[in-house]
């Protein structure tokens, strides 16, 4: 795995990020929600390593803790997308015919909306909150993951080991779970790793629009949205969450590309 340059860089970027996010709650950080109006827009100093925001809150604490929400968002939405998309894609590719037609046409309906807009629409129905935002993005991912899995299943389905399984009378469930799934797992892994990065991006975008993570708890997207009005006062305010967010997404993208090379997967760019 470490022989691949992309995977190596990806892991190198993600390792520290994930470590920080896991360790942050137990670190002796300042209270991320404690305001200090007198000390707003402070530049980095010994006391506030990353400076402070418009309420004088410590940016170091907020940035480190904000990653939890974003990562949770990426992982959660991807998990939902996989949970729904993988079975749909497998069934569609394996059974073909009317099952395939029905499932894929239904998926096409959801592909007629841009990702962010569909998420917005789902949130409009359920109301803006973290849980629903994750669910919404998971649903947005579902048809895209289903298509990838279906594509790989279609090419695997014609391999004769599937026919061999049918010839000895295996059930459809056995063939799907024990014969097909292990052979389409590579594209699923690659897609998942890229989706996590993308989920983090959409999640922060929703927070940016005020529909994801709710204040006052820190989140990178929400922090960037807040910083927008105060850019001229302090560039640090946007720099930190923007930097951390970009590094995380870059890490997942590079890891995904590396995995694609390692696992020898061909996926069309979306």
């Amino acid at each position: 795995m470490l022989q691949n340059r992309n995977a190596r860089i990806g892991l190198g970027l993600l390792g520290p990020m994930i470590a920080i996010v896991i360790v942050a709650p137990v670190l002796p950080l300042p209270d991320p929600t404690a305001t200090d109006a007198a000390n707003a827009f402070a530049s980095p100093s010994a006391e506030h390593w990353f400076g402070t925001d418009h309420h004088g809150r410590d940016l170091f604490a907020r940035t480190l803790l904000g990653g939890r929400v974003s990562l949770l968002f990426g992982l959660g939405s991807t998990a939902i997308g996989l949970l729904l998309g993988v079975p749909i894609g497998l069934a569609s590719g394996y059974f073909g015919g009317n099952v395939d037609e029905g499932l894929m046409r239904f998926m096409d309906l959801f592909l007629a909306f841009p990702s962010l807009l569909l998420a917005l629409l789902i949130l409009a129905v359920f109301g803006g909150s973290m849980q629903y935002a994750i669910l919404a993005v998971g649903l947005v991912f579902t048809p895209r993951i289903a298509r990838i899995v279906r594509g790989s299943t279609l090419s695997e389905r014609n391999e004769t080991y599937i026919e061999a399984a049918k010839a000895r009378g295996e059930s459809h469930t056995h063939i799907l779970v024990h014969e097909l799934l292990p052979n389409v797992k590579s594209p699923i892994i690659v897609e998942a790793s890229i989706r996590i990065g993308f989920g983090i991006l959409i999640g922060t975008s929703l927070s940016f629009l005020g529909l994801g993570a709710q204040p006052p708890n820190p989140d990178w997207g929400y922090m960037i949205a807040e910083s927008r009005d105060y850019l001229y006062n302090s560039p640090w305010f946007m720099l930190w969450p923007g930097l951390f967010l970009s590094i995380t997404v870059l890490g997942f993208n590079m890891l995904g590309d590396g995995l694609r090379d390692i696992l020898n997967v061909e996926i069309e760019e979306q």
Binding site: P114, L117, N253
Partner: protein, 320 residues
């Protein structure tokens, strides 16, 4: 009917079916949106009679199928209903917004085509060289930094205290001032283009690399053709087909409103209108704006598929 004609007919029919499905989804979603429209229109303190009066005027007391039917037939005759919030015809609100987004989209699209495709070709030809490495590294970063961060950075650097080159928000119609129009549209479209250039570039590069390694390119080289002919005549023609399809899809998503970028630059397009309509529960506006965005998407998908089939002589004309 020729094979291609048949394919076109089936594929178009299918797109229409999808759009019909979209109208059902949009109508359904707006029905279950929380909140009472009449309350939206009149504010929280209204009498029973007031609510009934509004429902009567907006046609909200009719059965759902009738409301749906009225809505659909209205779309075709240009009667798109009244905005709850502005009390103006939806048509007059949505269409100008859509047109402004289209302007933004077209400028961004031109930038993507003029930057992404040539860079991708260069990166593929000089694969492994430092040009390729730099281009690859830059596209990685582009793909990872959210568009709105780029937008904010542009505003910070070029639209404000550092260099005041371009206005950072709003829109000026070209009929008023061409330079004003261009000034307002440039930053958001460059931001949009940046995000897409990375995708288009990577796709162009990887497809062209595959083509350059194909056996028919080997045949061409072993015929003694010079490298320029091999590239232009034998490789580019086939290698570029997937990119053309991708570009069609990208145009669709650009037209589909680029919510975030419009939001960052306070650009009065269809994207910001949709977010506004969601926040304000302005159902008629929301329905139509979403429908238009989805239509742009579906049509772009149609164009992409048809182009691919048309450009690649190998494709069997399957069903939809």
């Amino acid at each position: 009917m020729g094979k291609f004609g048949r394919y076109l007919a089936i594929r178009s029919l299918y797109s229409i079916l999808i759009l019909w499905g979209v109208t059902l989804v949009v109508f359904g979603v707006t029905q279950i949106l929380p909140g009472d429209p009449a309350t939206m229109v009149l504010g929280p303190y209204v009498s029973e009679q007031g609510i009934e009066l509004v429902n009567e005027r907006l046609g909200l007391n009719k059965p759902l199928p009738v409301q749906y039917f009225d809505w659909i037939t209205g779309i075709f005759v240009g009667d798109w209903g009244l905005s709850f919030q502005y009390e103006q015809p939806v048509y007059d609100i949505v269409v100008p917004r859509m047109l402004r987004t289209a302007q933004l989209a077209l400028v961004a699209f031109l930038l993507v085509v003029c930057i992404g495709v040539p860079l991708g070709v260069v990166a593929a030809i000089y694969r492994g060289s430092y040009v390729d490495t730099v281009v690859s590294a830059v596209t990685y970063v582009w793909l990872a930094v959210p568009g709105y961060v780029f937008g904010i950075l542009f505003i910070l650097l070029l639209g404000g205290p550092v260099f005041y080159l371009f206005p950072s928000s709003g829109y000026v119609a070209p009929s008023e001032s061409i330079s004003g129009w261009f000034g307002h549209i440039l930053l958001p479209s460059v931001t949009l283009a940046l995000m897409m250039v990375a995708h288009v570039l990577r796709q162009t590069r990887s497809e062209l690399i595959d083509t350059l390694q194909s056996e028919y390119v080997r045949t061409a080289r072993l015929k003694g053709l010079d490298e320029r002919t091999v590239l232009v005549k034998h490789a580019l023609r086939n290698g570029i087909i997937p990119t053309v399809t991708l570009l069609a899809l990208k145009l669709g998503s650009l037209l589909g409103g680029t919510v975030l970028i419009e939001y960052v630059f306070s650009y009065p397009g269809i994207g910001t209108l949709t977010v506004e309509a969601i926040h304000n529960r302005d159902l008629p506006v929301l329905q139509m704006s979403i429908l238009l965005i989805a239509a742009a998407y579906v049509i772009a998908n149609l164009i992409a598929d048809v182009l691919y089939t048309y450009l690649d002589p190998r494709i069997e004309y399957g069903g939809a």
